[in-house]
Symmetry: D3
Amino acid sequence: MRSVLAVGAHPDDIELGCGGALSAHRAAGDTVTMLVLTGGQNGPGSCLERRREQERAARVLDAVLVWGRLVDCTVAPDAATVTVVETVLRSVAADIVYVHAPDDSHQDHRAAAAATLAATRHGNRILHYRSPSTTQFNPTMYVDISAHLDRKLDAIACHRTQVDASAMVDPEVVVASARHFGAQARTRYAEAFAPVRFVWDLRPVQSAPSARAAAVAEVTEVAALAGQLPPW
Amino acid sequence: MRSVLAVGAHPDDIELGCGGALSAHRAAGDTVTMLVLTGGQNGPGSCLERRREQERAARVLDAVLVWGRLVDCTVAPDAATVTVVETVLRSVAADIVYVHAPDDSHQDHRAAAAATLAATRHGNRILHYRSPSTTQFNPTMYVDISAHLDRKLDAIACHRTQVDASAMVDPEVVVASARHFGAQARTRYAEAFAPVRFVWDLRPVQSAPSARAAAVAEVTEVAALAGQLPPW
Amino acid sequence: MRSVLAVGAHPDDIELGCGGALSAHRAAGDTVTMLVLTGGQNGPGSCLERRREQERAARVLDAVLVWGRLVDCTVAPDAATVTVVETVLRSVAADIVYVHAPDDSHQDHRAAAAATLAATRHGNRILHYRSPSTTQFNPTMYVDISAHLDRKLDAIACHRTQVDASAMVDPEVVVASARHFGAQARTRYAEAFAPVRFVWDLRPVQSAPSARAAAVAEVTEVAALAGQLPPW
Amino acid sequence: MRSVLAVGAHPDDIELGCGGALSAHRAAGDTVTMLVLTGGQNGPGSCLERRREQERAARVLDAVLVWGRLVDCTVAPDAATVTVVETVLRSVAADIVYVHAPDDSHQDHRAAAAATLAATRHGNRILHYRSPSTTQFNPTMYVDISAHLDRKLDAIACHRTQVDASAMVDPEVVVASARHFGAQARTRYAEAFAPVRFVWDLRPVQSAPSARAAAVAEVTEVAALAGQLPPW
Amino acid sequence: MRSVLAVGAHPDDIELGCGGALSAHRAAGDTVTMLVLTGGQNGPGSCLERRREQERAARVLDAVLVWGRLVDCTVAPDAATVTVVETVLRSVAADIVYVHAPDDSHQDHRAAAAATLAATRHGNRILHYRSPSTTQFNPTMYVDISAHLDRKLDAIACHRTQVDASAMVDPEVVVASARHFGAQARTRYAEAFAPVRFVWDLRPVQSAPSARAAAVAEVTEVAALAGQLPPW
Amino acid sequence: MRSVLAVGAHPDDIELGCGGALSAHRAAGDTVTMLVLTGGQNGPGSCLERRREQERAARVLDAVLVWGRLVDCTVAPDAATVTVVETVLRSVAADIVYVHAPDDSHQDHRAAAAATLAATRHGNRILHYRSPSTTQFNPTMYVDISAHLDRKLDAIACHRTQVDASAMVDPEVVVASARHFGAQARTRYAEAFAPVRFVWDLRPVQSAPSARAAAVAEVTEVAALAGQLPPW
């Protein structure tokens, strides 16, 4: 069982960036905590509406929700923001952290990314997710969300004030991007991530170790299959 | 149980690049196949010696060894080399592939990387490892090899002709780099990788799903711990 | 009227990469030439079938089709390939050239990109398009293909042997990627490009030059609108 | 007729970065607005002198000048600066925006770039220009300013306090860089740009659509010219 | 005799990043000034302890120590910090400056790098050093510290509060990284640097200019040695 | 006294890329060897003319000239080319090597760069120079050629067949680029380089080591100059 922490600057950021992966984590029995740094005070939508929407979305994803109590459009990559992230990080003993990508046109997203990098300086599984306002993004890790796309869309739908009024939140684009990255990942629907650092845990996938027989004997057989090989 | 394929241009390349990870894969019950494209005909060491050394190293790592039957310093990123890799890839039904990094001063290493990228075009877990001749390398994935460094060194020691005569093969540097990347990975000893694409398999690490209680109730408690937070 | 040249390694590459932009060029009155370097001899599909498919697709896009007469999986970035591209380039006096992106797992795609860069060394509008096998791609230019997506899909549908049998050619993914890049371009459907160099032709969009009045007078008015500005 | 907005942190930044392109826009009948964020209070030159110089330069370029009313060396990439840019952006309904490149040793330049990226998050033609203090710059778009270099130099000459006293403002270097980038763009004098995103408007350059005849017939003829081609 | 300035955000940063190079500069007769921007007020260790430690370390390196008088975790890349660096830069007439790399998870390190870039905008030898919290680093310059590693370790050992309590300060890792980068530099122990800009001073290494004889005559001889060369 | 080797694919490549630096090396008493890989058989100009031009240019630069005996437009990054470079490298015991940048539209330039990287795998001072056909180039090292620009131009002028007939060889652009990079290097005229790896030799510039007095005493004085510093 892993403890997963997702950090986003505003209500809906986490769902858009890694809602499918969070659903997959829950399905794998991991705990999931969502830290939303600000209340999205600048709207569209009132602060109260957005809190309700975010709480509903967290329930859809079966995740614990923590509010960072910062103010929309004023997040700074300073010690105060680092402390917010560190406090939650330690409280939930997170061993996997998801956060915004650093190259983003929204200053709060950049600040959230920078503060989370500082807070997780001793951690070893930190992944950047993409937002609609991300400017440069070269993903190399993916999570297959084919079985989780519906739940991701349900969670996004909770943010009705955004779906109705923000050009940046469009479920049609969410599905298109999931399919686009799915093709890149050689699967159906996927979310894409850029790891800051990711230590791959090579625990046994299945308990019985494989029996191995005469390795050298196999060599010739396999090579023989390749008729095109030059003589050696 | 996963099927792992490591591709290297010459005897000793795989051990230097990902010998520790291969040992960790074996410990996790995965099967491991090493595809060595050439016989290292240019030396130092005779071709026969190098074959014996490579076979011994494969036994140390408990891996199947396949010879690609190409010739040292003439590997091209062409259809013939792609066919060699594809043949083995299908034969072992590999779902994880390790290969040289693309920015390398040795033409065989670059060709091995390019041909493997072509051969694995439908695969979704391909990782680049670093060689002493790699020129640019920005790793973001790591495997903790603290429990496997000795075996990696044992495997490298099998390549006596190289350890004795090649400035590029120095066990002291192998340990130093493992510690250097270990510090980067926030662990003790590590091997570093640059993923081409890596679909993270989020299967349960432990069977019992976590019980979750009143998410919203937790919110205030956690936030309250952060005395430095501004009023909201 | 511009002369546009699109270069692709195999039948269907051009349609997948820039079929929408070519349709938009035709709608704007530009001439379009498609240079397909090989006959796609490795299949799926026979060489004859693929030639027929490509000719049909060129008709759909109302483009001239030129066969490069090279052989699938053997394209090299050498003087012979450069000559093929140069010959067509001069014949059609192309002032805009589209070609594969350089970071691609298929050796023919990389070779097509490299040879075209050499052939167009004196040109000033060269754009890389993306293929399903492209590995790294950071687009910064886009063409809005909202009015041309259907024609792009029609052109791709001509390549029936590929649509039926190649995992890399999937119309559903074509639409998804067009929507994904459309959102990035702040439009509906788009194709994405990475310019090698692109000299923007600033010819008048509309003949009447704008009348401009007292510039300094406007300054205060505009600034006054921004009530949040600090005193100066 | 397009509406062009150029954003610069200090008096003279816009002229140095894209004065030639602005002159070309005017020649094409586009309207041009220059938003100078600060008064250049830190000198050299008094604030009053610099205002006069900037107003003169705007007249040379036949552009509307708007002062951002911020203070030299204190520009922050925060909501207040974003609001300044947004206010002007909407007021002039800009569809093309030029701004500093992000990698620059001057904090005001970085802040101007970041705030403009936020303000233009819904726009689709945003280009970074280069300043003498830019540190990393990989231009891929160019505007031919061969017919506009003199006007650019005239506009820069208006900033006499800078030309006389700042090591960063040297007309000789302006000409040299224009020739350097001109050679890169395969033209005579050019300004270089790095697009954030640029949707290329493929409107007809000339009204009469080209008549096209037997496409397939042309194929053989063109290919035949290339005597070096291998048989097929 | 060169005047070298090293800038670090906290006590111990400079020693970790370029302590060996500073020792090599002293051995070459250069003067060395260390500007430590903050007192490391956030610990571990009291501010007084850390001042004593830093002063001891400066004596070990035989360097002048200047305190920047800023506060730990609050360094901003603003005009005030730029002024601190500029003041010292001018005071010591530095012609070589070392500073943190820009991609670092610690906000003070990023701010120190940015402010130093601004302060050195007219300088021509500025090198980024690596810190344990650096996230991306592509070094291309190296200083051989084989004869200076002991002194570097002695200087680091002065920072006892850090060596004892900070996971980021581990002498074993310092040695390992020096060996890792030494292998990259084709020497034994090295420190690695990423130049912002570095003008190489090509002064004579040895006074007597070499006598050169018939250049063309040598051509054939040298070429003749390469028996493998094709006929020409 | 250093031994410098410059490698170029064709006659005139070396002069264009690093002719000024080579002149500076000679002025510093270093020996300089130019290895021209091909005879420029594809013209413009006959092979004989180009040999004479190159020999004249080498005399202008007072450098030894070695012909690589390869053929224009057929240079491959293979073992044969590596052997050519290695043969000369060992013959002259080069400790500094200059070669083409890797991102170049000419296949011979890319091959020359790749082969030289392989040949210099044990060396520690390798610098890439820029050619007119270089596509991406991020220089970080510079050599001040203000005193050597005339000699560089003289050497280029020897290549009369190129100056007269090749769009890529234009002395006016050579001067403009030298001034452009000179401004970047904060000097007058400069050549720009991208180091592969460069070990900086910190030998004494002047024999007398500096006397240093009470370091801590200086601290307060310097800091006091900065009136803007916050209290500590």
